[in-house]
């Protein structure tokens, strides 16, 4: 029962609140970069509530059940992964074996839910968008795994988030080394892909395929997707903070550092997305499988050489 409370309070409520704030920050910063004033603090929440009230359209497509469940399953997996991350951050001693692998796989589920929802809508544009989401997933997954393996090597070959945190508490952050810094940079670039932000927003590409995977979604179901994306906007940077920056300390001054790290990561994502054009699908593939994977391999090599 306490575990359920943990999932609800930290995994869902806190993550959602921070996600909404991050989404506001992202929009505000974007507006300032474009010399606009930008939305008020609660705008993401207003948007969410408004969507909940709106009429929900369900296309007469191949599988309506898949269409309506996909956003909910995606949301649930975002909650689960946030709960696991919070649990290991709060109590590194008590994590389970190999939770790193569980987290990596759970991070795939929101993408899968978006893909399946797009597939099920029966819209050709959504199918195209979903196929692009899959190609995006194929492209960032390889360097992302290599970048995480750097942290695994640095923390004495452990696939346990708790031990990665404890090793960092003892030896200093992973990011403060040549290999760790490089790996973190790669992980942040892959995170940009995982969040499907510009320049990797091929699955949605408003100007070509009119939001692609999301094209048929409206009302409450779209609200669920937005909530999921906002939560991922917290969960993914949080994961990077845990793996490379020693986790969030929740007491005293270190909390401020942790928050600064998080805000810095979100600001970095926002800056990238506002200063770049969208890649074409094959450019995304070439970019991730080419230079990024090479760099990731270099980072792994450096880590094995103890740099």
């Amino acid at each position: 029962m306490t575990y359920l409370l943990y999932v609800f309070l930290l995994g869902f409520l806190l993550t959602a609140v921070i996600g909404f704030l991050a989404s506001w920050f992202d929009r505000k910063l974007t507006a300032r970069l474009q010399y606009r004033i930008g939305p008020p603090l609660l705008q993401p929440l207003y948007d969410f509530l408004k969507l909940l009230e709106k009429e929900t359209l369900i296309p007469k497509a191949s599988s309506q059940f898949t269409f309506v469940s996909a956003p909910l399953v995606g949301l649930i997996s975002a909650i689960t992964v946030s709960a696991i991350l919070w649990a290991s951050n709060m109590d590194p001693q008590k994590t389970f074996i190999g939770d790193l692998i569980v987290v990596i796989y759970l991070f795939l589920v929101p993408s899968i839910s978006i893909v399946l929802g797009g597939f099920a809508s029966g819209n050709p544009l959504a199918s195209l968008g979903a196929s692009r989401e899959l190609k995006l997933l194929l492209s960032y997954e390889l360097p992302f795994i290599l970048a995480i393996l750097v942290a695994v090597i640095k923390s004495d070959f452990s696939l346990r988030l708790g031990e990665i945190l404890l090793a960092q508490a003892k030896n200093g952050m992973v990011a403060v080394s040549w290999s760790g810094g490089l790996a973190m940079l790669i992980a942040v670039i892959c995170m940009q892909g995982k969040l499907a932000l510009v320049p990797f927003d091929t699955p949605e590409a408003e100007t070509e395929i009119a939001h692609g995977v999301m094209i048929e979604y409206s009302g409450a179901l779209l609200a669920a997707y937005h909530l999921m994306k906002n939560m991922m906007l917290f969960a993914l940077p949080f994961f990077i903070i845990i793996v490379y920056l020693g986790g969030l300390k929740v007491k005293g001054l270190p909390l401020l550092y942790g928050m600064l790290e998080y805000v810095g990561l979100v600001a970095f994502l926002t800056l990238i997305r506002n200063t770049n054009p969208r890649f074409r699908t094959e450019q995304v593939l070439k970019f991730f499988w080419g230079p990024v994977t090479m760099l990731a391999a270099v980072a792994v090599g450096l880590a094995l050489g103890d740099y």
Partner: protein, 551 residues
């Protein structure tokens, strides 16, 4: 006891693999009952199925290497005969190819068995633990390994599997290459690693590298397939790579993971082939381009296929995730001992899941979701339903795949896998996915609620899809089938180079070319002209005379 020798011996490994074999044979017999076969009698078909069950059981239950070899060979023969029940034009050629690859490697196995007999003075598979430092033992190991790779469909002897999947009847594919042949191959590999030989780190590295190559190359091949049975076959090859990877680690956790993955793989791959066969019976095609939108007429088969696809991609909390997780742990344990290659193996293994996911999602879209194919009679909704023997066996397997995922430790690991190793390599504080499962079920419940609300609620409305104001009927060219999802991947120079290499390295084609070249001069001598033959005869006689004279 026969002829003063103990022939049959049942231990935990034999028990687990034997139980698997019997279980899948039963399901396949049930499934085949209503499956429309091509030519040939049903009696012969069922007989061959049962005989291959007996042969497979013979392999796993015997203690004698010679008996094992005989049963192993027989199972290849029955595979050949069963493939022959396919109705495609290429079926005979495919059966021949499978038979030659498996039979050819059997010959090497025979050599290996003889060598083991030479070294240890008996053909009993007790706890031999031959040292691989000895060249003859190493050679015997490699010979047996060839048999394992061919039977289990691993690179480089995997090429018979996709052809068989395409041209053999679907239940045969689901039974032999997808389940029992894999189980047999892995059984022998486990015997070799656990009992027959004392593994060295070098040999383990060979196994791990083979496994990684298998995962990556088959995963990449999956992306470009147009026929879903062929695609599933490449998926099966890729999964066999994980088993090789797990057993190659030499660490108890990795070996347990490999064996568990073998069981899991047999479960979901048979399941996917069974569901695929039901679809095939309904729409009379396996071409991904021509299908689409079948989730509406076949909702249950769609759900099962989707769960199977997610399980094979290793999505938690399904069974594929648990075994992959154990294999990854095993690889990291190898990493502790030094060297940098393990990073490569681990990264390839984890990336392989993404490849599998991409390939399976493409299949799910092309068969069940997206827009209905233009010439599918089934899309209209007027058709006869699928008979129960075609959906019940895979449904059972789907249930197993969920159960083995959620209660992995309590059900399969404790009772089937750990007894083989005679130890428990993981402690209890592994991930218990019960809570996550409950949450996912809640989400699905919410989905069901939403779905029924949409029938009468005012804030929910059913609409046609919006494609910029066009309709699919008016512009049918806008249909996206899914078979071309990864064209931009295929256009990459790296992928094209890989594909050319893969096309050239089929051992069957290579040896066929070699044999053709070798026989070319002999063939040319047979010109059919009498005078030429006579002059050859005279020359031969002349040589004979000279030899006899000089003696």
């Amino acid at each position: 006891m026969v002829l003063g020798q103990e022939i049959f011996h049942v231990d935990a490994l034999a028990l687990t693999t034997g139980a698997c074999i019997v279980f899948f044979a039963g399901l396949t017999l049930l499934y085949s009952w209503k499956f429309a076969l091509g030519s040939g009698g049903r009696l012969g078909y069922n007989l061959y199925l049962l005989l291959s069950l007996v042969a497979a059981l013979g392999v796993v239950l015997t203690k004698n290497l010679v008996i094992l070899l005989v049963c192993w060979g027989l199972s290849g023969v029955f595979l050949y005969l069963l493939i022959g029940y396919g109705t495609k034009e290429r079926t005979p050629a495919t059966a021949k190819k499978a038979f030659i690859i498996i039979g050819g490697t059997d010959a090497f196995m025979m050599l290996g068995v003889v060598l083991i007999g030479q070294i240890s003075d008996s053909f009993n598979m007790g706890h031999l633990r031959l040292s691989l430092a000895e060249p003859s033992a190493l050679f015997a190991f490699l010979c047996l390994l060839m048999g394992v790779l061919a039977k289990a469909g691993m690179v480089p002897f995997h090429t018979w599997v996709p052809d068989t999947a395409e041209d053999a009847p679907t239940p045969v594919t689901a039974f032999l290459p997808a389940a029992v042949d894999k189980v047999l191959g892995v059984y022998l590999l486990a015997r070799m690693v656990l009992d027959l030989f004392l593994m060295t780190p070098g040999m383990n590295a060979v196994l791990l590298t083979l496994g990684a190559v298998t995962i990556a190359s088959a995963g990449l091949m999956m992306l470009r397939q147009q026929d879903f049975k062929r695609l599933l076959a490449f998926c099966a090859i890729s999964q066999a790579g994980y088993v090789l990877l797990g057993i190659g680690t030499g660490h108890p956790l990795g070996i347990a993971g490999g064996l568990f993955h073998m069981v899991n793989h047999a479960i979901y791959k048979s399941c996917l082939f069974f569901y695929g066969g039901a679809v095939e019976q309904r729409v009379q095609t396996t071409n991904l381009d021509r299908m689409g939108g079948l989730a509406r007429p076949m909702p249950m088969i769609f759900t099962g296929f989707l769960i199977g696809s997610l399980a094979v991609s290793g999505i938690p909390p399904l069974n594929g995730f648990v075994s992959k997780w154990m294999i990854y742990q095993g690889i990291v344990e190898v990493g502790r001992e030094g060297g940098g290659l393990w990073v490569l193996w681990l990264a390839v293994a984890m990336f392989g899941s993404a490849l599998t996911l991409a390939g399976m999602m493409k299949t799910v879209h092309a068969i069940f979701l997206g827009q209905p194919g233009p010439d599918l009679p089934v899309a209209t909704g007027h058709h006869k339903s699928t008979p129960w023997p075609l959906w019940f066996p895979p449904l059972l397997l789907t249930a197993l795949s969920i159960l083995f995922g959620i209660w992995a430790y309590d059900l399969p690991l404790k009772h089937l896998i750990f007894p083989i190793l005679q130890q428990t390599p993981i402690s209890l504080d592994i991930w218990q996915p019960t809570l996550a499962t409950v949450l996912i079920l809640t989400a699905l419940g919410g989905g069901i609620m939403f779905y029924f609300l949409s029938r009468w609620s005012k804030t929910l409305r059913q609409t046609e899809v919006f494609i910029g104001g066009e309709t699919l009927d008016a512009v049918p060219g806008m249909r996206v089938s899914g078979s071309a999802f990864y064209d931009s991947v295929q256009e990459l120079p790296v992928y094209r180079a890989f594909f050319t290499l893969a096309g050239r390295s089929d051992p069957y084609e290579v040896s066929a070319q070699f044999v053709t070249r070798l026989c070319g001069p002999l063939k040319n001598m047979h010109s059919g002209i009498l005078s030429t033959y006579l002059s050859w005869c005279l020359m031969g006689m002349g040589v004979l005379f000279i030899v006899l004279l000089l003696r």
